[in-house]
Symmetry: C2
Amino acid sequence: MLRLVIIFNAEINVDHILEELLKLNDDPRVHGVYLHLPPAALTNRVLNSLKPEKDDSLEGKTVLLVGGESPFRLVLQCLIERRGMVTAKSHWDSKSLEREVRCPHNGIQLTEHRYIFLHRAVGSLVLSSLHSLFSFIVRQNVVRSCTRWLQEQQYKPWRLRSLKLQPLTPVPSDLQISRAQTAKPVNHLAEEIGLLPEELEVYGRSKAKVRLSLLERLNSQPDGKYVLVAGVTPTPLGEGKSTVTIGLVQALSAHLNLNSFACLRQPSQGPTFGIKGGAAGGGYAQVIPMEEFNLHLTGDIHAITAANNLVAAAIDARMLHEATQSDKALFSRLVPSVNGVRRFSPIQISRLRRLGIIKSDPSSLSPEEVNSFVRLDLDPEKITWHRVVDTNDRFLRKITIGQASTEKGLTRETGFDIAVASEIMAILALADSMEDMKSRLGRMVVGTSRSGTPVTAEDLGVSGALAVLMKDAIKPTLMQTLEGTPVFVHAGPFANIAHGNSSVLADKLALKLVGEDGFVVTEAGFGADIGMEKFFNIKCRASGLRPNAVVLVATIRALKMHGGGPSVSAGAPLPTEYISENLNLVSGGCQSNLKKQIQNAQQFGVPVVVAINVFRTDTPAEIDLVCQLAKECGAFDAVPCHHWMQGGRGAVELAQAVKEATSKPSYFQFLYDLQMPIVEKIRTIAKRIYGADDIDVSAEAQRKIDYYHEQGYSTLPICMAKTHLSLSHLPERKGAPTGFVLPIRDVRASVGAGFIYPLVGTMSTMPGLPTRACFYDIDIDPITEEISGLF
Amino acid sequence: MLRLVIIFNAEINVDHILEELLKLNDDPRVHGVYLHLPPAALTNRVLNSLKPEKDDSLEGKTVLLVGGESPFRLVLQCLIERRGMVTAKSHWDSKSLEREVRCPHNGIQLTEHRYIFLHRAVGSLVLSSLHSLFSFIVRQNVVRSCTRWLQEQQYKPWRLRSLKLQPLTPVPSDLQISRAQTAKPVNHLAEEIGLLPEELEVYGRSKAKVRLSLLERLNSQPDGKYVLVAGVTPTPLGEGKSTVTIGLVQALSAHLNLNSFACLRQPSQGPTFGIKGGAAGGGYAQVIPMEEFNLHLTGDIHAITAANNLVAAAIDARMLHEATQSDKALFSRLVPSVNGVRRFSPIQISRLRRLGIIKSDPSSLSPEEVNSFVRLDLDPEKITWHRVVDTNDRFLRKITIGQASTEKGLTRETGFDIAVASEIMAILALADSMEDMKSRLGRMVVGTSRSGTPVTAEDLGVSGALAVLMKDAIKPTLMQTLEGTPVFVHAGPFANIAHGNSSVLADKLALKLVGEDGFVVTEAGFGADIGMEKFFNIKCRASGLRPNAVVLVATIRALKMHGGGPSVSAGAPLPTEYISENLNLVSGGCQSNLKKQIQNAQQFGVPVVVAINVFRTDTPAEIDLVCQLAKECGAFDAVPCHHWMQGGRGAVELAQAVKEATSKPSYFQFLYDLQMPIVEKIRTIAKRIYGADDIDVSAEAQRKIDYYHEQGYSTLPICMAKTHLSLSHLPERKGAPTGFVLPIRDVRASVGAGFIYPLVGTMSTMPGLPTRACFYDIDIDPITEEISGLF
């Protein structure tokens, strides 16, 4: 007569457990199962999961308790008190468990080897192995089985099977390369890197979301090395940071046999159909399948769009309702009588608290309190919230809404941005838990009341709904490179009005998964003066993570441009300087922009490896010169990379340099203290990172800064919205400009995301479609379902 | 020395096959594998999938061919001709195969039992069982193994494990009921109903998309019975068609042990946060998890939004580009020189053909031809295409776009609809293959040129991109009811400006899966005069499917209203007539609206079962009266249903009646012939279904009808946009009104979806948010991830 006792509290995902229990039903060796669930869950689940003959009672029996963590104490304690059976022990590890089972004390007694209490607070970690645990019990070896089970919950070494590449010459199109490779089923990949099946939510065959419970399971596991890929100031053509990122992890994992993870941004779908094509890397350094990467992926950007636009709809509907109803009517609608009872919802209680009204009975509010509760009194001129679409739709840049007669003349001018420009995208990238995301969503400021008070998403009553819409988006998406190494794709905020980095959560999950000796390679948008600076000062501040090395991507092309070469523009053929050897120009670029960007990284105390993304036209002398000068300028190392043509094999030298650099101690420090005044923080970035003499703050900007200071936002970090084409604010000034004063035209705040963003120039937040957009060539074969025209 | 030979053509999904091949690599019993792929696929896939020592050559060897279907002939023939090995036999079945292997003829020879050719044209059906096939080969029993393998590809009887329900009294909230039940993992459900693993694309644990290749695998399998759930003319509160649909399949499968499938519409996410709450059924007849059903699901509506808005962006961008560029500039941008070569893309060739220009060299076009090619010359006043969002955003009903200076003054008035009102949603619901969907998308008319020519999505060059965006949305989503029976959720077009039915493809897949003796229950929006009429005349015409029975849902409440009861409105308490017995009102409703709707179904030759959706306040006498009168009015049967309180057990009587009704022959016929003039088709519906004396066509409507006739659209079916609250056009006229003339205010066309829609009244295509929207109560617990406030 062997029995299992299973207790869970409300926090456990019962689905997975019951799935396992159904098997116990059919197992002739199990004679009874006692299941303890919180009252709310004691319903059909229980009835469906246990055959009557297996249903068991514990009255008056003595049991062994195995497991237990602090948030779980309460439930356990309740059970014990009600049943009067045993005393709980809430903290334990395998060693002490073994001791206690051998020599019972502390009220825990093992009398018959008949009952096992299995309980755990959060997640669904227990039951995947319940059945195998049971087998051990059958063999009367409780202790060893528990120890084994415990081990299964711990970090698992990788058993990565890399995919072989046989690169072709000339290099085919990105889509051809992607399609010619066979991606591993994503659940196989997940298993290879030590994810438990219950931590995975597969989306088709090649994508899966990873649950955040992983962070808890591997809580005690030391992080791997954290590597940022940044770049010199780029030409308008881009210098290949994404391909370097992917090539580097392909080299680390598939060629050096080191655990590594790339963390990438999810691209906007709009440009895919406009002028850009794909963003999954390129050549033999890609994420596959590239069409999945470039299209809907797992719907995160769609969720952001839905959440963003719900806020917008709530704003305008609220203004209409406030304009057309009395305080009393608004109040009776906002707090309706349901079956004769009027009650504030929790989100309304929060608003009352912010208004300083400490009441919970709706009828007790004074008319003045009702007035301040029901009226957000939004100033239509001061609504900063825009709608978004994930389409390049330039005609939505500036629009007038509310022109139907049903909206009673309440028209106003507003606009749509591309979805990735939504503050919600920046929040997704910076949140470190569901709780954190939810509270950031609630704090988002959508506009100002006529009396000058900021109005938040929580004031609109919409913050819970936003968190519900974003509940899946918060989980990073697992994909793989061409060589079968793992990649997280998660979040992709703008790099000017936001911080341009992939998510904190993806990095955190990856750092646990790669293990102590592994590497997480993450990418920052734009040049190092923008992406890297924000990575350090905003993202690392939010996450608490500390980088071990920076890879600074440079191309001979960009260096020549900074050394005085003619201007480079998209669509136009490259001037001859860029396709034939010119050591002078290369040297000039190294001594100016490359040197300054290396120094920028060094200001944060992080070692720099320069990665030269080699093009076919680069000469050995040019490459050697960059390597030599980069080291003279302070780089830890500088190496050429050939990943675009060769895949990971072409980035082995870089991988070795990165491994070496990260083995040295890093002395990371922030550039500025959050307590500094806003203007001083801006000035620090402008002078120390951009090389400006000073900043020039416009009257409008100063007025905003004063307002943000009043509102208590002055301790937020700074997110500069500056051109990425120059270290200065003038795109045409290449190299490392000096003698300029950085104009601060305006200042805005993303309070939910948690930064203030000074505008140095005009930022376009909605791209357009060219005359011949990419969509002319994009097609799908209806029979084979093969896509063409993405690149 | 045992060897496998595997040949595939380009149409096969190589991913799944290679996955299986990797296992063969490690199987010591396999000494060689010969893989034949089309040249384009002969790349790293091959190199990665085969160890060099397993790589094999067939030169000069004799082989056995197993399998082969017509589209595959070409590849096979090529191989044979090149290799000179064997002759192909393309058609076969297991019987003839057995014969041929025993007694080789026709050029097929089996000499050594060493080689097996496995080939198949489409899909990925082969390889899941390749390995097990191999085991049979090892046992030298080729014929039996092939036969067995063949059987595995055929229809599989269901082994459905239903979930038990123990309904509580009083009935808890929908969300509580949904959460208290443990859904089966969707891959288990899929296996139970005979889906192959490779036909499933799992999205998390509770949802999966089903691949259309299933239709081909089960091509020869007879369809099950096809049952439509429609309703009497409803009160504004709705009469429970969805819960009847779900209750009925729960009864059929979980209680009568008959295979059944419910096919439901996907609800718009907008109303979930507005006034409506969920749409997953209710009480103990629900789809679970209801929060997944009600939120993003598998992203289909998001894909529609993206596709719809890409068309809109392309329209306005094109008008801007045409307004600001000469013919020559447009032509050189639309047909650019790439590496010195100018070439039309396939989509541009299509446009040239439609313009009657049979040329393929861009330089050969005359200036007039260039002009007509490059200029769509859209009339801004006649653009019918709207943008969409899946949010209740009333301020977008009428807007002015293009007000930023970058758009050069090309402002125009337009609007946003809710996403499900997009024509693309109607197309998704009516398409019967990827090819059909793609061609419908291309045919969509977005507006008219200044010279009066319709301009299509294909003219914009965007149709291939739209199909790419919709490539996953075309696959129906599998979920389950509270009792663990299968449900397809797919498409949800408006029931006024579109046809309001779930997808043709979901119905088709379900009819194959349930098998000959099974049931597919699908639902039509609004009352039977609208939803059912459109189901028959539009959906059944598009699909070629023929219904076996109609379930007509009635409530005592609605019947009393039609019998002369006081008006019923949302939010207001129900008048006493509705909560106490009143046989007179019930009788009046039966003799009017119920009778007319029964007759409406009978005009199509389909038997009707009346299902009384019983409320707590209904009396036995009232229910008996409806049963009696319904049968007198021509219903095949009439039964009360208690699924809301009892789940499937409460709908067993209905299930038995439906089983009985579908066992009778059905004499289905359309109401009108497509060749009739548009006006006559409208008149037929108005007189025969609504009971109107005649129709009154406005001048504007007549002008449009003439125009559509000219453009060749006059053979499209009719999709009436009429109120659902009365059989007439006047919502307040209940019962079965007579003596009215139906006004046809305007007529529009959805050419891609394939219907003409006359407007009888004003249709709102964008709902608003109430003062206290649902979102006030919607929240998520950040720790447990439990959602609250959906209902």
